[in-house]
């Protein structure tokens, strides 16, 4: 009886082995990636759709076998916008053996810069802070830096303002993220950009900006350039609207025209500020869903496929997350097609080679992604949008700010 049992079990195990071994042999490679970002806590209004964009795109890659039998496994961790937790998550990802890292905030990108250098791992953060690239070889910005965005907006003001030198104020987030572009805009002004910076305001957690707006108005400020997240901008726009200070057309005399960089705009701003968001000028390198195209179709289809709500589906931060996932997938695909082993080193090489004829068009942006030894900013082109009837509409053609090169 005992002997029979042993034989039976031996056969059973052998059968399982025969059935599973070929399956294992046939299964493709799994490439591990990591993303640490603020899904909850400060700036989670941007981080939440961003994480969904990343998650959905990698699921899409795996479901549609874009990499054949190989799969991408991207672990997404919430760091609540705290650098200490980001560091812990990053160490965890390294323990898991990641070959590519997606980061989020400016603060943590700067804090982990040395670690990225030592680990020699390519990193795509959601932060477009130009300072990320200083003394760094492994950080790549997905799109034009905040500095480029703010300089682009300032150039637009300078070119389109009628009568005299335009007076502008900067409304910024009280952090490394917010302060980053201020010096660069000042450098551009010193280099000849014809505007006068009257005041730089670091907003706190104010629920009322009336006094600030009155002060700016009394100083003759006609343009407010914002570089922060949506909610403080919405508060400011609502207060300006109550005071009757919002310009109904660009540069309207006696009124203020509000403009903002990537994280100030998008559908969330319209949802928060309502009608007060009318005539808000916004720049980013992403194509928004109100301007349909190949990229936005993919974005909406992806969101639908993975049961995302309307808000996430139409968020430019969802597109933002999708785009970094697209770039990561593309470098893996390219390395694989060349028969290279997928490692940190080969992916880094592929990123550096992403230029000229090898530039990558993710379709979710207004320009191609180009990286090289000397250029670590992906999409250099920006698009200006303006809110008309509660919808962001394109204003003019995509452009590249002139003064970004002049101040280098």
């Amino acid at each position: 009886m005992k002997k029979n049992n042993v034989i039976k079990w031996t056969f059973l195990l052998a059968a399982i082995g025969v059935l599973t071994l070929p399956a294992q042999a046939l299964a493709g490679e799994v490439y591990k990636l990591g993303l640490s970002l603020a899904i909850t806590g400060p700036t989670s209004d941007a981080g939440n759709p961003y994480s969904k964009g990343v998650e959905d795109y990698f699921n899409f890659v795996n479901d549609t076998k874009m990499l054949g039998d190989d799969k991408i496994e991207c672990t997404i961790r919430d760091d609540q916008y705290k650098n200490d937790i980001t560091k812990r998550n990053f160490e965890d990802f390294l323990d898991q053996g990641i070959v590519f890292y997606l980061n989020y905030s400016t603060g943590s990108t700067l804090a982990l810069k040395n670690d990225f250098e030592e680990e020699q791992i390519p990193v795509l953060p959601a932060s477009f802070h130009a300072g990320n690239l200083v003394d760094s070889n492994y950080i790549f910005l997905p799109i034009a830096s905040y500095s480029a965005q703010m300089i682009g907006l300032t150039e637009y003001v300078s070119k389109n303002h009628k009568g005299g030198k335009p007076k502008v104020a900067m409304f910024i987030h009280p952090s490394a993220f917010g302060r980053g572009p201020v010096e660069d805009v000042k450098k551009a002004v010193a280099a000849g950009l014809d505007v006068e910076i009257v005041e730089v305001v670091e907003h706190g957690k104010d629920l009322d900006n009336t006094a600030m707006l009155k002060r700016l108005s009394s100083k003759g400020v006609q343009y407010v350039l914002s570089h922060t997240v949506q909610s403080p901008v919405a508060t400011m726009l609502k207060d300006a609207s109550s005071l009757g200070l919002v310009a109904t057309s660009f540069g309207e005399e006696g009124k203020i025209t509000f403009l903002g960089a990537h994280y100030t705009g998008g559908n969330d701003l319209v949802a928060l500020a309502g009608d007060s968001a009318e005539n808000f000028y916004w720049t980013t390198s992403y194509i928004v869903t109100s301007e349909p195209g190949e990229g936005t179709d993919l974005q909406l289809a992806l969101a639908k496929k993975y049961n995302r709500d309307e808000k996430a589906a139409n968020s430019h931060n969802y597109a933002n997350g999708m785009m970094v996932a697209q770039v990561a997938t593309e470098v893996i695909r390219r390395a694989k097609s060349k028969g290279k082993e997928i490692t940190k080193e080969t992916l880094y090489e592929e990123l550096l080679g992403m230029n000229g004829d090898n530039a990558f068009s993710p379709k979710t942006t207004v320009g191609d992604v180009t990286f090289s030894e000397t250029d670590h900013a992906g999409v250099d082109t920006l698009q200006l949008y303006v809110v008309k009837n509660s919808t962001f509409m394109s204003e003019g053609s995509p452009f590249v700010p002139e003064y970004t090169d002049k101040i280098k």
């Binding site: 899904i39 909850t40 806590g41 989670s44 939440n48 961790r77 919430d78 609540q80 705290k82 650098n83 200490d84 560091k87 812990r88 998550n89 160490e91 965890d92 390294l94 323990d95 603060g107 700067l110 804090a111 810069k113 040395n114 670690d115 030592e118 680990e119 009280p174 952090s175 490394a176 302060r179």
Partner: protein, 364 residues
């Protein structure tokens, strides 16, 4: 005291000297020695990933900070809600050297033990300065004074260009007798360094509490007028308590700076001060063991809640608000529950377990 120092039970002492022993019995001393050996030896046998080594190191840094907070709040009875700022003073002492000399200067990379001690003294100096209002203020009013220091600290760091307006100031890799401490051994190296510091600080505090300089803290806490009548100077003792707390916090801050290889403003906010206070309460105010239990309990709870939030978030995609609320909710709940049902903290559970083991098989 029993004549057999291995089998002593109860609290029968025949002299003050006996009562003031660091270890009541030889068994206690042996257990402590074995425990320390285990603490020093386990990393040689178990390979823990960098993530968990970082978590462990982080807990140990918090232990040093909470030992300091326990001195001022637990033993001296002075509430401080600016403790993270003192930790920040220590960290920014190291960061200041990095800013002036460069993050890989010899002073940073080779003289790090001196810098850690210096950071402790800077913490002590600021602690004593902040303690000055304690000459006139008590209770809630003193709490507000320490809170204001926290605010001043945050404001200063956040706006001064010298401190890079709160952005991370990087700290170079240190050297040991074997050469540069490489990335792969970084967390293990700092584990041993922090452990050694904990052992020194703990024995220091334990011994301090056996002396009149330590007992005067308790005397002032229990009744400062009576202490005054006994010839002590309550005001000076309060300032001295803040100085001691500041020293421990400063050392913890410097260790934090070296451990994370950078100093950023967001590690020393009011939220962190509240966290340290919670650790002291949960661990057990006025006990040395409490300073070990508190950080361990709060950090482990934090990790578990984080894991739970992640799990809830992945299964209920619409429950983001719930996951956002889980952390502060659990954190607040733990403090309230401890205050209600075990105000003496985990240290009291430890005391109960110890006495049970000591008296076993007798009940009392």
């Amino acid at each position: 005291m029993s004549s057999n120092r291995w089998l002593a039970t109860g609290n029968y002492f025949t002299s003050y000297t006996e009562e003031q022993r660091v270890f009541a019995t030889s068994l206690d001393r042996t257990v402590m020695c074995v425990f320390l050996c285990i603490l020093f030896a386990w990393p040689l046998f178990f390979n823990v990933g960098n993530k968990y080594m970082l978590v462990i190191d982080n807990i140990l840094v918090a232990v040093i900070a909470v030992i300091g907070l326990n001195l001022v709040t637990g033993f001296a009875g002075l509430i401080s809600i600016g403790h993270a700022a003192f930790v920040g003073i220590g960290a920014y002492t190291v960061a200041s050297f990095c800013r002036v000399l460069g993050d890989s200067h010899l002073v940073i990379t080779h003289c790090w033990p001196l810098l850690i001690v210096l950071a402790g003294f800077m913490g002590a100096l600021f602690g004593a300065i902040v303690g000055l209002p304690a000459l006139r203020l008590k209770h809630l009013y003193l709490a507000i004074a320490t809170l204001s220091f926290q605010m001043i600290f945050q404001w200063t760091i956040n706006f001064m260009d010298f401190f890079d307006q709160g952005q991370t100031i990087s700290v170079g890799r240190v050297f040991w007798v074997t050469g540069k401490v490489a990335r792969k051994e970084h967390y293990l190296f700092w584990y041993y360094v922090i452990l050694v510091v904990i052992v020194i600080v703990s024995f220091g505090v334990r011994n301090l509490l056996r002396t009149r300089y330590g007992r005067c803290l308790v005397a002032v806490r229990d009744n400062d007028r009576a202490a005054d009548a006994m010839g002590m100077h309550p005001g000076l003792i309060k300032v001295y308590a803040f100085g001691l707390a500041g020293f421990c916090a400063g050392v913890a801050g410097a260790l934090h700076a070296y451990l994370y290889r950078g100093v950023g403003f967001d590690s020393f906010t009011l939220h962190h001060s509240i966290n340290y206070l919670a650790m002291a309460i949960v661990g057990g105010l006025g006990t040395l063991q409490g300073a070990f239990w508190g950080p361990l309990a709060i950090r482990v709870l934090d990790l578990q809640v984080e894991r739970l939030s992640e799990w809830v978030g992945s299964h209920l995609t619409a429950a983001t608000n719930l996951t956002t609320a889980l952390r502060p909710l659990s954190f607040g709940l733990v403090i309230v529950l401890f205050l209600m049902f075990e105000p003496r903290g985990i240290a009291n559970w430890w005391r109960i377990v110890r006495s049970y083991v000591k008296l076993w098989p007798f009940r009392y």
